[in-house]
Every structure is written in C-alpha cells, then in structure tokens.
C-alpha cells in the first residue's frame, strides 16, 4: 500500500507541473490583456502595471517565478482584484463551494440512490420508467434554465426563499443553489445505482436469502445495499470534485461568491493569477480524489492490489 501511494505521489508532481505549464502558456498566448479597455492605457501607466505583475519579462521567466511562488504556497496576486492575492480569494471562496457542494453531493447521492434502488426493485415496470425519466429530466434541463426557474417560483412568486446571496451559509440561502446543483447529478447516480442493484439482486446469495423467505426490505437494506453501493464509489470521486467546483452556473445565478464565479470572471477578464490558481487547485483535487478512489478500491477488492 505504501509503495502504491508513493508511486501515485511521484506521478502527481510532474503531472501538476505539466498542467501548470500548459495552462500558463495557454493563458499568456490568449489574445487580449487583463488591462485592456475602450481606451488604451498610456504607455507609461501600462509599463508600471506590467512591471508590477512581471509581465515585462519573458513568459518562461514568468513561469519560473510563478512556480517558485507556488512551491511556497503562494498563488500570486490577482490581476483584476487588486486588493487581494489569489490565495486569499480562494480561501474566501472555497468554504462556500465546499459547503454548497457537500450538501448537493449528499442530496444527489440520497435521491439518486433511492431512485436507483426503487427502480431496480421494480425493474422494467412502469414505476421504473417513471422514476428514471424523472431523474433524467434533471440532466436534460440545463441548470441555467433550472436556476432562474427556481428563483422565479420560490423567491419571486412564492417568496419562500431568498433569490440569491450566501449570508455566511444561512440555510435559507442554501436551499435553491443546492437543489439546482444536485439535480443534474441525480440521474447518473440513479443510473449507476439501478445497474449495480439489479446485478446484486441477481446474485446467488440474495437468491438464497429470498429463498429463506426473508422480507424484501430486510434483504435490500441488510444484504444488497452495501455491495450495490460499491460501483458508486468509483463515480463519486470525480463527481465530488465536479460538484464542488462545477458550480459556475450556480454561482453566476445565485451570487454565492463560490469558486465557479471566480473562474468564469478570471477567464473572461484574463485574470492570469486567478485562472492558474483555480486550475491548479482543481487539478490537485482531481488527482487526490482519483487516488482516494483507487485506495478505497484496493481496500475493498484485494485483486486490484496485485495487478
């Protein structure tokens, strides 16, 4: 296990370096500058600004400076928000995205797991079709339609919940964004759950349990659920990263101040520091969660450890 993890770590470092280099070059190749506007800045003003952000140096030298800072845990300055460093902005936005993502993740897993299990128990029945279609509508309706729709109905028409803002994580503020974020993940979780549950239900030991005349709910909860959840684990790693960071649309509509909005603004405004910071953060998380999934798998299924 130790050698397995060391190997993962050894691969992770150069991977991150390559990702950093590619995104850095892409960012700097992009036409347009963070300081462009309707009127060009006078050359002496532009020179002062570029000097401050090291933009007057060759790109490779900038990259070396960037990596040097990165190794000390410093993501550098934001090119757009002059009052903050990228690290500070991420530190501020991360808890929002994390909390939002965690709840959405939980909701998606619960709802998806429930739908998937029910559908599997009534395989190919009308209930199966209805449940799976319902789950699927969460995917096919883009969340940039769902979000304003939720706002319109629950905030504007009914006035039950706030239409936006985070308010330090008040539960009222969280409900709409959490629902909007979770729904698009419910379908895939339900689909995986249904598949694995059907497989487990067909397995010999469940048949034996059935033959013994144990009640179905008992069989499902006691014997089938745990093995059926296993395939979900593989999906949940990347999905977790996706849910936590993939809140771009949600952030834009609900003005929650999460990471997604930072990335969108960063990319469009050419905030080199911000885009690099978030890219590196997400790459690290992805690698981390992939490793966690692998380790979980290795723990569950000894066959993998050998191969």
């Amino acid at each position: 296990m130790l050698s397995f993890m060391t190997k993962r770590l050894l691969v992770a470092v150069p991977t991150l370096l390559v990702i950093a280099l590619v995104s850095f070059l892409l960012m700097h190749l992009a036409p347009g500058s963070p300081f462009g506007g309707e009127k060009d800045l006078p050359p002496e003003v532009l020179a002062n600004i570029e000097a401050k952000f090291h933009l007057d140096k060759p790109v490779m030298e900038q990259f070396v400076i960037y990596i040097g800072n990165l190794l000390q845990g410093d993501f550098g300055p934001s090119f757009v928000y002059h009052d903050f460093t990228v690290t500070e902005l991420i530190v501020q936005a991360w808890p929002v995205s994390l909390e939002l993502g965690l709840w959405a993740f939980l909701l998606a897993v619960l709802l998806g797991g429930l739908i998937g299990t029910l559908a599997a128990l009534k395989q190919n029945s009308r209930l199966d079709y209805i449940l799976m279609s319902l789950a699927m509508s969460g995917v096919v309706i883009p969340n940039f339609v769902l979000a304003p729709l939720l706002m319109l109905v629950f905030a504007v028409q009914l006035g039950w919940l706030p239409a936006g803002g985070w308010n330090d994580g008040q539960w009222q503020n969280m409900i709409l964004p959490v629902v909007a974020l979770a729904l698009s993940f419910v379908a895939s979780i339900a689909r995986i759950m249904r598949g694995s549950m059907i497989e487990v239900l067909h397995s010999p030991y469940i048949r034996t349990a059935k033959a013994k005349g144990l009640p179905q709910s008992y069989i499902v909860l006691r014997h089938a659920l745990r093995p059926a959840l296993m395939p979900l684990v593989a999906y949940l790693g990347p999905a977790f990263v996706g849910i936590v960071t993939g809140s771009m649309v949600i952030d834009v509509f609900f003005t929650t101040g999460g990471l997604g909005q930072h990335f969108v603004n960063g990319a469009l405004n050419r905030d080199y520091g911000m885009v690099m910071g978030i890219t590196m953060l997400i790459a690290t998380l992805t690698i981390l969660f992939n490793a966690v999934v692998d380790i979980l798998y290795a723990l569950i299924d000894p066959r993998i450890r050998h191969s």
Binding site: L41, V80, Q92, G165, T255
Partner: protein
C-alpha cells in the same frame, strides 16, 4: 454594462468655479415635511460587477468609483445637479491664472479611526497615486489635471516628492500646475483623487483595504466584503457631516446579469435597480408604474467606427451610404428601447460650451436617406453582380449584439450588403484594432467639453477607423487652447459627418429604472451619474 471609458468629471466652466468657493454646503439630506423615517435605515443596491479595488489609487472602473464615493470623501464633492460643493475643503482660491490652487481644510474632518485629516494626508495620497510603484490604472487621470511634474513622476523620471502638491500648514494644501487648468477643482470630485490614511497603508501594505484594516473618511465605512457576493458598508460616525447621514447600512451586490438582478429586486432583495433588462421594460412599466424612476441623460455617445483605409469602407461613398441607410429611430425605439435618442453627429448636444449643428442628412426623411444610400452604393460600383461584403466586430455584450445584428439586417435590406458580425470577448475586442471594416464604438465623457469626444478621431486617438486627417487634427489642437473653440469644434464635427469615419447612432435620453417607493432622497439627476448615498433615507413602510 458597456465597458465604455468611465471617467467622470469636470463640468468645465470657469464661471461656476469662481462662485463655487462661495457655495454653501448642500450635501445635507433634505427630508420633506411629513415624511416618517423607517426605524431600520438600510438599503441594498446592485453595483453590477465586483469592484476591482476600493483603494482610491487602484480603482479603475465605474463600479469601484461608485462605492469609492461612499467610502471616501475628497476635497470637494458634487451635489445632485453636478455642481461642485465643499467637502473636506471648506473654501479654496485659484491664483496665478489658474496655475496655483490653495485649499483650506475643515478642522473637524476625521478618519474613521478618529485621526484628524490634515493637508499632509493629501500630499501623501497624491504622491502615492502618481508613484510608478503603485501602478495605478488611473494615474493618468491626475495627469490630465496637469499637477506639476506629474507626467515625469508617472514615468519614473522624477521622485514622487517633486510632485506639485504641498502642505502649507496642517490645514492648508497647495497645488501647483504645469499648465492653467480652469476645471481643476472639478476633477477633485473624482474618487481617484480622494485621500488615503498613511499609517494604515504603510502598516498593512496591499492588505490595507480589508474590512479589518481599512480606515476611510467618507460617510460610510466597510464592515464586510465577501468577494462576488456582497460588500456591506455601515455609517461612519467620524465623518465630518455624520449628523446629516441617515442611512445606517448600505449593501452593494455584484450581480451583472440584469435579469437576475431584476429577480432579486422583485424578491425584495434589492431596493434600487438602475439597469433593467430590455425585454422586460414594457411589462415593468405596466406592472410597477409607482416604482419607476427616470435617470437623467448622461454624456455618452454610441457609434460604430468605419475603417477608412482598408476594404470597401475606404471609399467615402460606401461610408456615407452605410450612415444613411440606418433607421435610427427603429434602433432607439425597438432595439435599445429605453429612451435613447438618435444621433447624427458624434458629440451629445447638451455638452458645455458648444452647440453642435445638426448635419444636413439628419433632417432628411428616412425614405430620402435610404434612396440616397442606394444611389451612393450603386455609384461606388456595388450591385447584384458585386454585393458589398463587410466584416464587423463587436464585444460579446448582449446589448451590443442586438444593435449590431439590427444594423447588419438594415444594411442587408437597404444596400443588399452582406455584413458578417463577429463577437469577441471584451478583452480580445479591445485588443483588436485591425482586420475588420466596422467596429463597435462608444464613449462616456471624460469631462464636459467637446474635445473628450472629438479627440477619439484625432490622429492621437489611435482608433480603428484610422481617420488620420491633418486638417481635423489642426482644428482640434487650436480649439483646445481656447482659441475660437466653438466654431472650430463645429467645423470638426462637420468634417466627421461628411467623411464618416464613424456611423453615429444614439445617446441616452431619460432612462427608466426601478426604485422601491420607500427609498427617499435618491435622485438620478447628476449629469455625470455621480450618486451619493449620504443623501438617501428610507421612509417608514
């Protein structure tokens, strides 16, 4: 919101200046008799984008200037008509033919931590603004004011200590200018020119604007800043005129999509909405008549630049035809549809000191204009066998896209022209000055004088139309020194509406906005759209 160049200043008028010194403070809340104030004096506003900085020296765009006017206070301020009123300075005098300005500071002005505001604070702040190390995106603004040695300090050729600003004594501040600038005092009402607290800046460095660190001197001080969610300001009890400030709390939201902002307004989470989604205007006018509030016309002009050196638009007849073929009233009434007014020249007519003559083609009927456009385009050699093909480029803002598509459709139906519209992200668009025939353009007055607009098409303007006309340059140069200005500007404007390096389109008129009925004292009458929350109050509701 269009990223036009927002510098707001300078209702240029030497006469107003002279009397301004005698102007009595008017920055007091005027609450009509019989109005009962609400117990909770709090307001939430949409600032449309997250601000890039609240450090006066690092502000670079309107959202920051808007908040800057609440957090900080300068030597002078503006009233709701745009007139200069005293702020930290009680009175001032201009001497040496507008080359020297001396300001007398009030003795009761304090920072939000209780420290007194002195002339030294201003000296420090101006030196900091111009120092290359600060890298201020608006440092050039102070340079327009021609403070002595400003250009050299900005370019790093001289130490900031040589800047023409000095503290005569604790409460007397003197500026020396390189050139006579009659509208100098006007410029000082801009947030970039506001002071910062030296000890705080030196103690915390770049981090001094954090809510925990910041020390400011305006009617409000910062309480919380959750980037991309909200910024909360609360009343600053040390503000020199704090007795007159009614609001206890101002919250700014950074919602950029007008339709999202509208939902939050309708849900009661925003109290005032200045930018309404075009598609909703009719419905809002019908359903919320009591909440409508007009914004007074501001000094802006929207146009499209034509490439005068390359492609079909190098032919003057093509440019004329393009300008004639547009039905501006359809654009303003159906496309932008929020009170905009058609423009046939570049400079808005309400500009100070110059009354632009309306060009001849403006008084033709639309039918005649289109007939003339067809004749010109035929004369230029385009027809069914050889259709006019043009490439247009615009930034990817929704509103621009609609106008651009309407234009290309008009040109298609009148001139049978094929105009391809390419939208680029704003940052890419601004870096694109070549390779197209038609460019979206727009300008917000830097100061209230015709040259702010006419300069765009001078050779120094470096615009995509590449007009480069020596005669035009010469007219402008002479007009700016005050030599027979009005007549020369007239001639320059006439050249533009003959040569058409641009297609003039429209300017803002009275614009609808939404305001909850319980918001008082918030009037959108300032011609430079400088609105101050120190005058606002909440009625009992």
């Amino acid at each position: 919101m269009k990223q036009k160049h927002f510098v707001k200043t300078c209702l240029f008028s030497a006469l107003t200046m002279a009397s301004a010194a005698a102007w009595q403070p008017a920055s007091a809340v005027v609450i009509p008799e019989g109005v009962k104030l609400a117990a909770k004096q709090e307001i939430t506003l949409n600032n449309s984008t997250e601000v890039t900085s609240v450090d006066p020296a690092k502000m670079g765009a309107e959202p920051a200037f808007n908040i800057g006017k609440d957090l900080f206070d300068g030597l002078v301020s503006q009233d709701d008509k745009g007139r200069i009123i005293p702020a930290i300075a009680t009175h001032w005098e201009a001497t040496d033919g507008n080359r020297t300005y001396t300001f007398h500071l009030r003795d009761d002005a304090r920072w939000s931590n209780g420290d007194p505001i002195t002339a030294d604070d201003f000296v420090y702040s101006f030196r900091r603004l111009m120092a290359p190390a600060t890298a201020s995106p608006y440092g050039w603004f102070a340079d327009i004011a021609r403070i002595k040695n400003g250009s050299k300090v900005l370019a790093g050729e001289m130490a900031p200590e040589n800047l023409g600003v000095e503290a005569v004594d604790k409460l007397t501040l003197r500026f020396t200018l390189d050139e006579p600038i009659p509208f100098f005092v006007k410029m000082l009402s801009h947030p970039v020119m506001f002071p910062v607290h030296q000890a705080t800046v030196e103690k915390h460095g770049d981090a001094w604007t954090r809510p925990d660190n910041i020390v400011s001197n305006g009617p409000f001080k910062m309480q919380q800043w959750a980037v991309n969610e909200k910024m909360v300001l609360v009343k600053n009890d040390h503000y020199w005129n704090a007795d007159e400030v009614v609001l206890e709390k101002v919250t700014f939201l950074p919602v950029s999509d007008p339709s999202v902002a509208l939902k939050r307004y309708l849900a009661g989470e925003i109290d005032v909405l200045r930018k309404l989604p075009t598609a909703q205007l009719k419905r809002l006018r019908k359903e919320y008549p009591q909440e409508l509030s007009k914004i007074a016309p501001s000094l802006q002009s929207t146009y499209y630049s034509l490439n005068t050196k390359e492609g079909p638009t190098a032919d003057i007849r093509v440019r004329q035809a393009l300008a004639y073929a547009i039905n501006r009233s359809i654009i303003t009434r159906a496309v932008t549809a929020n009170g905009e007014l058609p423009m046939y020249g570049l400079t808005p007519p309400q500009i100070d000191g110059f009354d632009p003559k309306i060009p001849a083609y403006a008084s033709m009927t639309q039918q005649d204009r289109e007939k003339e456009a067809k004749r010109l385009i035929k004369e230029a050699g385009y027809g069914p066998g050889k259709p006019l093909e043009l490439k247009m480029v615009i930034p990817s803002y929704k509103d621009d896209q609609k106008v651009a598509l309407a234009l290309s459709n008009m040109w298609k139906s009148v001139l049978q022209a094929k105009v391809s519209v390419e939208k680029l992200e704003p940052k890419v668009f601004y870096a694109t000055k070549k390779g197209y025939h038609i460019y979206r353009g727009g300008w917000v007055a830097d100061y209230n004088e015709a040259s702010t607009f006419l300069d765009i098409f001078s050779s120094d303007g470096n615009g995509p139309s590449q007009y480069l006309n020596a005669k035009y340059d010469d007219l402008l140069r002479k007009a700016k020194t005050g030599d027979n200005s009005s007549q020369r500007y007239q001639q320059a404007e006439a050249m533009l509406s003959y040569d058409f390096p641009l297609v003039p389109l429209y300017r803002p008129g009275y614009q609808d906005s939404l305001k909850k009925p319980y918001v008082g004292g918030y009037n959108f009458t300032n011609p430079e759209q400088n609105y101050y929350r120190r005058d606002v109050y909440i009625k009992a509701h």
